[in-house]
Each structure stands twice: as structure tokens, then as C-alpha cells.
């Protein structure tokens, strides 16, 4: 729901520094709740119970848990469960080709993990 003051946000990222910082940023600057997942699979399990307002999904997921599915696969899976779930991709990779692919599969935006990204994610969530 746009404009809702307290949204439910899922963050799927296996890199703990950025995800911790993102959770801290969002919860300090808004009334949203953030739930962190290290793998897409864990998040998909949760999706059968709760549908969040926004999912923030990292593109590279298989660094910590080796066999974890990568961002693209999880994106497709999420869209299969419910095509209307808002998904925002996160990545350290500055490639227009990659970004375009994720948008084609249904991501709402592709945000590069730089210093301004925390704010951009918050703005997207607030919409």
C-alpha cells in the first residue's frame, strides 16, 4: 500500500556489513520493520506465511552459503509466488546489461551499493 507508514520489508543479502547497515538505516529513519535473510531459500519459505510490502534482494547470493541460489533465480521464484510483490535489486555490480535483465524479469529497480544507496532504498520503500 503506498503511503503506509509502517511497512514490512524483507532484505535478502548474505553480506552482513551492508545488510546490518541497511537495517539500521531504515529502522532509524522510518517506522518500517526489517527482516534479514542470508539466503533466498529462507526468504521463500517465509513468503508462504507472510507477504511483505517490499523485498530488497541482492544480486550475488552464493558467497557465504555456496549452494544458495543466486539473485536472478530467487527473483524469478518470488515473481512466481506472487507477481505483484515489489522487488528491488541490490548489487555492487555496475552493469547495465545485468540491470536490464532484472527489470525484464520483474524487478522494480536496480540499486548499486554505494554511499547513496541506503537513502535510495528508503525512498523506494516509502513509495
Amino acid at each position: 500500500m503506498p503511503g503506509k507508514l509502517s511497512k514490512n520489508i524483507f532484505v535478502i543479502d548474505d553480506e552482513e556489513m551492508y545488510s546490518t547497515a541497511l537495517e539500521e538505516y531504515i529502522t532509524r529513519k522510518s517506522r518500517h520493520t526489517v527482516k534479514l535473510f542470508k539466503t533466498g531459500e529462507e526468504c521463500l519459505d517465509e513468503l508462504y506465511k507472510t507477504i511483505p510490502d517490499v523485498i530488497i534482494l541482492d544480486y550475488n547470493l552464493s558467497t557465504v552459503v555456496k549452494d544458495a541460489a543466486n539473485g536472478m533465480a530467487i527473483l524469478e521464484a518470488i515473481k512466481k509466488i506472487d507477481n505483484n510483490i515489489r522487488v528491488i535489486m541490490l548489487s555492487s555490480q555496475e552493469s547495465y546489461a545485468t540491470a536490464m535483465n532484472t527489470i525484464k524479469v520483474g524487478a522494480e529497480d536496480y540499486i548499486i551499493k554505494d554511499e547513496n544507496s541506503f537513502d535510495r532504498v528508503l525512498v523506494m520503500c516509502n513509495e
Partner: protein
């Protein structure tokens, strides 16, 4: 009987003497003819040389004048809030005319170089800036072909030097462009290294290398590579395009710098083009100041000036007038030739005159001479000239002009030059070159971490900051292990993956040099380039240093 013999002998003698004489005369005549021929050829050659120079000057003017009109007027239109659908067309015109100008400049350049008429700029510039510009120029094509484009410039090479950045960019774009053109897969690397550091005259010899993994060049073709119009295969021209002048121009430009170019190539594996140029080393502060001055160039420093624009070409007048009116509140008058300019100057006062050179009737030189000598006026006069040949610029100065602006010009050049000659701006003093000593030491004293960003993010809350710093320090040992394993197994894919995912940690710790290095290593891994191991060592050093710094602070 004796007399008969005697007569015969005399006759014989005379015969031979006469034959020698005749031969001698013939020889002399032939010599004379050759001599006249030679003199004739010399005269023709000299006349041809003068003709060539005149041709160059004319062509320069004839071609640049309309080009100036096209590109400047397009810029003006883009500044006048065109409709969204018009913007695309205008940008297309802008790009096409830029390309056209580029090709024309190539041809004119070669003519100029061969006529010995190029002067190199002497200004401060940043090598990193140039490399980034070159990378931007090549990026689109490289990405299209799936090639990695790498820049390797270590901190041990001084960044700001004194020289000609435009010509250096031209050389690098040419060699880099060729590398991208002739490489189907892999990478193109622009590498910069220190050659000799000469303490006495404060110069550094910089070695530039362009390394590609392309189709390579056959050994027997290496000789003719730098000659005009040659390409390795005539079928290449069809497939790869190009004027065939690029390498020849680059080589000549490098030699003009007092440098040398060399090429090493293995067919099917790739090529490396290298060249060395010696530059005096400059000081960084100076560059920052100059850049800030240029950007602050809003035309309002010219407000209130009375400017006379003299040019027989209607579009040129329009362009100059519009460019100035967009940026400053000035009073502009125009004249269509030298005579009118003189008449107007007799009636009115002006603060500065922009004077075109080539006009019918009384040209720019004559008009200026008249204004200086007969009218005894000291009004500043700026030449608007399509030619930047040394001989023509000298002529401008001799006639009494104060400065020149080459056509086609940018608005800031107009503003800057006018400000200069009317005393509205003080010119920066020439600084003393910085000592080279700091480049000889390895950059040990520069910190790799920077808490500015983290401080802002955590709103200067030390407890929160410590949380992230601890997170970072604890992640390092595991990371180093993984990388070491990857190096041992030569598993570049795994290395790239882990480096990639460590980037946010470097971001939070303000380690920008390390982030850049990570991007570089990423590209090297993708290209499976063996210099990745050397770069990984550098990375490890920076990481160790970062941990030391962070442990010290907290």
C-alpha cells in the same frame, strides 16, 4: 716520306684533340642543362612548399568556419529549451558534426605535422584524468564487444605533469581504439609506469603501454605499420574501418614529444604498443585551482563591457554574439569588414574588439595595424582565427593584436580571453614545480581508511561505529584465507566472487583506493589476465594496513 708521316701524325693528333674538345663541350652543355633543371626543381619545390602552407591555412579556415557555425548554433539551440522530440535530433547533429570535425582534424593534423607546423601545449594536467577520459571514450565499444577495459596507474607515478593533454589523449585514443577494434575477446589494458625520474630538471619519463589480447600482427607487417594509409590487410579496411592515418599521426606526435614508440605482437595472441614521453612534474594544488577557476567561469565578470565583433560571415557574428549574450550582460556591436570596424571605432568607444582575420577588402591584420598605428588606439583586439599555425599567430602579434581565440571556440574560451585582455581577471602565477622526492618513497604515509563516511552514517556515535569496525576486522582473516586458497588453486572465478562481495565493507571503512583496486582485479579475473596475482598482493598489503589503522583508532 717523312713529311707524309709527319702530316699523318699531325692530322691524327688534331683529330683526337678535336674529339676531346667536342666531348668537353658536350659535357659542359649537359652539365648546364642539369644545373638549370636542378635550379628549376628547387624553385618549384619552394613554390610548392609555400603553396602547401597557403593551402593548409585556407583549408583550415574554409572547413572550420562552417563547422564552427554548425556546432555552435546547435549548442545554442540546445540551450534554448527545445521540445523533447527535438532534443534527440539536435544531439544527433551535435555528435555527427563532432565526428566530422574529428576526421577532418585527422587529415589536417597529418598535413600540419608533415609541414612541421604543430606546437605542443604547455599546461598542467592530470594523467589519471586523461586515462579516465580515454577509458570513457573506448568504454561503449568495448562493452559492446564484451571486452574488459583496464587502467593500471600506480600511485608511484606522479599524477599532475606539464605538457599537452590533448595530444596525449589523441595518441591514447588512437592506440586504444585500434586495440579495441582488433580484439574479439579478452581485454584491452592501458598501463602507465615510471621510467626515469630526473631530479635535476624535475622531469619524469612516463611509459604508456596498450596491451590487448587481439588478433595480433604478422612479423613481416610490423615494418610498414606506421606508414600512412597502410592497414595490415586491405580487407581489414572493409571489416574494421578507419582512415589508416591514425598510427602514422600517433607515431609522429610521439616523436614530436621527443619520445619513441615500439610494438610487440604475437599473431593470434595479442599486441602491445608502448611509448615513452618525458614530462616535467607539476604540483597538485595548482591543478585544483585552475579547474575551479574554469568552472567558476560564469560570464558575469564581463558585465558592462562594450564589445565590437568584426566578421564578414553572418553566422560567425551570430554565434559570437549569442554565446556572449547567453552568459553576460554586455553591449555588442557588429561590423562586417575591416573598414566598417574602423569607421565605428572612430565614432564610438569599445572595451574590446573581436576581429576575424580573413575578410575581403581590409583584412584583420590591416585593420588592426591601422587602429594601432594611424589611430593610435590601445583598445584590446582579440583575433578570431581558424588557423593556429605558428606563422599566423606571429602575424597576429606583429599586427598589434593582444590575444587570439581559435575557431571553433567554446563559450568559456571567449569569456576567459576577453576577461584576460580587459583586465577583469588576474592570471594565476606560474608555480614552482613540486619536488619529485615524494614519488620515490613508496606511498607508505598515506592512510587507506577514512572514517568520514562511517562517522556521518553513525551520526558520530562511537558505539555504533565500533560495531561496524569490529565487523570488518573480524571478517578479514577469513577473507584472506579464501583469497590465498584461490591464488593457490588459480581459481580466479572464486577470487572475483569474494572480492566482489567484500566491496561494501571497504565502502563503509572509506577505503576508496581499495575499492578501485577491487574493480581492477575484478576485470583482470574476468579476462583471466595473469597480472591479477600481482594486484592481489597489493590488495593484501592494503587490507593489512587497514586493520592496523583501525585497531589503532579504536
Amino acid at each position: 716520306m717523312l713529311s707524309f708521316l709527319g702530316l699523318a701524325l699531325i692530322l691524327l693528333f688534331s683529330f683526337f684533340a678535336y674529339r676531346n674538345y667536342a666531348r668537353q663541350r658536350k659535357l659542359n652543355a649537359a652539365l648546364q642543362t642539369e644545373r638549370s633543371k636542378a635550379i628549376g626543381q628547387k624553385v618549384r619545390a619552394e613554390r610548392s612548399e609555400a603553396f602547401k602552407q597557403q593551402f593548409l591555412a585556407n583549408m583550415s579556415h574554409e572547413i572550420r568556419t562552417p563547422m564552427n557555425a554548425v556546432s555552435s548554433i546547435t549548442d545554442i539551440l540546445l540551450n534554448k529549451e527545445p521540445r523533447p522530440d527535438q532534443v534527440g535530433y539536435l544531439e544527433a547533429i551535435s555528435k555527427s558534426s563532432a565526428t566530422l570535425l574529428y576526421i577532418i582534424n585527422d587529415i589536417l593534423d597529418l598535413s600540419k605535422i608533415e609541414a612541421g607546423k604543430i606546437d605542443l601545449e604547455v599546461i598542467d594536467f592530470s594523467l589519471s584524468d586523461i586515462l579516465n577520459q580515454v577509458k570513457d571514450a573506448l568504454a561503449y565499444k568495448a562493452e559492446e564487444k564484451g571486452l574488459s577495459l583496464l587502467i593500471d596507474k600506480p600511485d608511484t607515478v606522479p599524477d599532475v605533469v606539464v605538457g599537452d593533454p590533448y595530444r596525449l589523449t589523441q595518441i591514447l585514443v588512437n592506440l586504444g581504439g585500434n586495440a579495441v577494434k582488433f580484439t574479439e575477446r579478452g581485454s584491452v589494458e592501458l598501463k602507465v609506469e615510471n621510467g626515469e625520474l630526473k631530479m635535476k630538471d624535475n622531469t619524469v619519463e612516463v611509459k604508456f603501454s596498450i596491451i590487448d589480447t587481439g588478433i595480433g600482427i604478422p612479423q613481416d607487417k610490423l615494418q610498414t605499420l606506421f606508414e600512412n594509409f597502410t592497414q595490415v590487410n586491405s580487407s581489414d579496411t572493409r571489416k574494421y574501418g578507419g582512415t589508416g592515418l591514425g598510427l602514422s599521426i600517433s607515431k609522429k606526435l610521439i616523436e614530436l614529444h621527443g619520445g619513441s614508440i615500439s610494438v610487440y605482437s604475437v599473431e593470434g595472441r595479442g599486441s602491445t604498443f608502448s611509448f615513452r614521453i618525458s614530462y616535467p612534474v607539476s604540483s597538485v594544488q595548482n591543478l585544483q585551482q585552475r579547474i575551479m577557476q574554469k568552472e567558476k567561469m560564469d560570464g558575469s565578470i564581463l558585465d558592462g563591457l562594450r564589445i565590437l565583433i568584426v566578421d564578414d560571415n553572418e553566422y560567425n557574428r551570430l554565434v559570437a554574439e549569442e554565446s556572449l549574450n547567453l552568459k553576460a550582460k554586455v553591449a555588442i556591436s557588429t561590423a562586417v569588414n575591416g573598414q566598417e570596424a574602423i569607421n565605428m571605432l572612430k565614432e564610438n568607444e569599445y572595451d574590446v574588439i573581436l576581429m576575424d582575420i580573413q575578410m575581403p577588402g581590409i583584412d584583420g591584420y590591416e585593420a588592426t595595424r591601422y587602429i594601432r598605428d594611424s589611430m593610435r588606439s590601445k583598445v584590446p583586439i582579440i583575433a578570431l582565427t581558424a588557423s593556429v599555425l605558428r606563422t599566423d599567430l606571429d602575424k597576429c602579434r606583429d599586427a598589434g593584436m593582444n590575444s587570439y581565440i581559435p575557431k571553433p571556440f567554446k563559450a568559456w574560451q571567449l569569456i576567459s580571453t576577453i576577461a584576460d585582455v580587459t583586465g577583469r581577471k588576474t592570471v594565476a602565477a606560474i608555480p614552482k614545480p613540486e619536488s619529485l622526492k615524494k614519488y620515490i618513497r613508496n606511498a607508505e604515509n598515506i592512510a587507506v581508511t577514512d572514517m568520514t563516511y562511517l562517522g556521518k552514517f553513525c551520526e558520530d556515535d562511537g558505539v555504533r561505529m565500533k560495531k561496524y569496525i569490529t565487523m570488518y576486522i573480524e571478517a578479514v582473516p577469513g577473507f584472506k584465507e579464501t583469497i590465498k586458497e584461490g591464488i593457490q588453486n588459480k581459481d580466479v572465478e572464486n577470487i572475483a566472487l569474494h572480492i566482489h562481495s567484500f566491496k561494501p565493507k571497504w565502502m563503509m571503512m572509506g577505503m576508496n583506493t581499495t575499492r578501485d583496486l577491487a574493480v581492477h582485479i575484478d576485470a583482470l579475473c574476468k579476462a583471466n589476465n595473469s597480472s591479477v596475482y600481482q594486484q592481489l598482493e597489493r590488495l593484501m598489503v592494503q587490507i593489512d594496513k587497514s586493520v592496523d589503522e583501525l585497531k589503532d583508532k579504536y
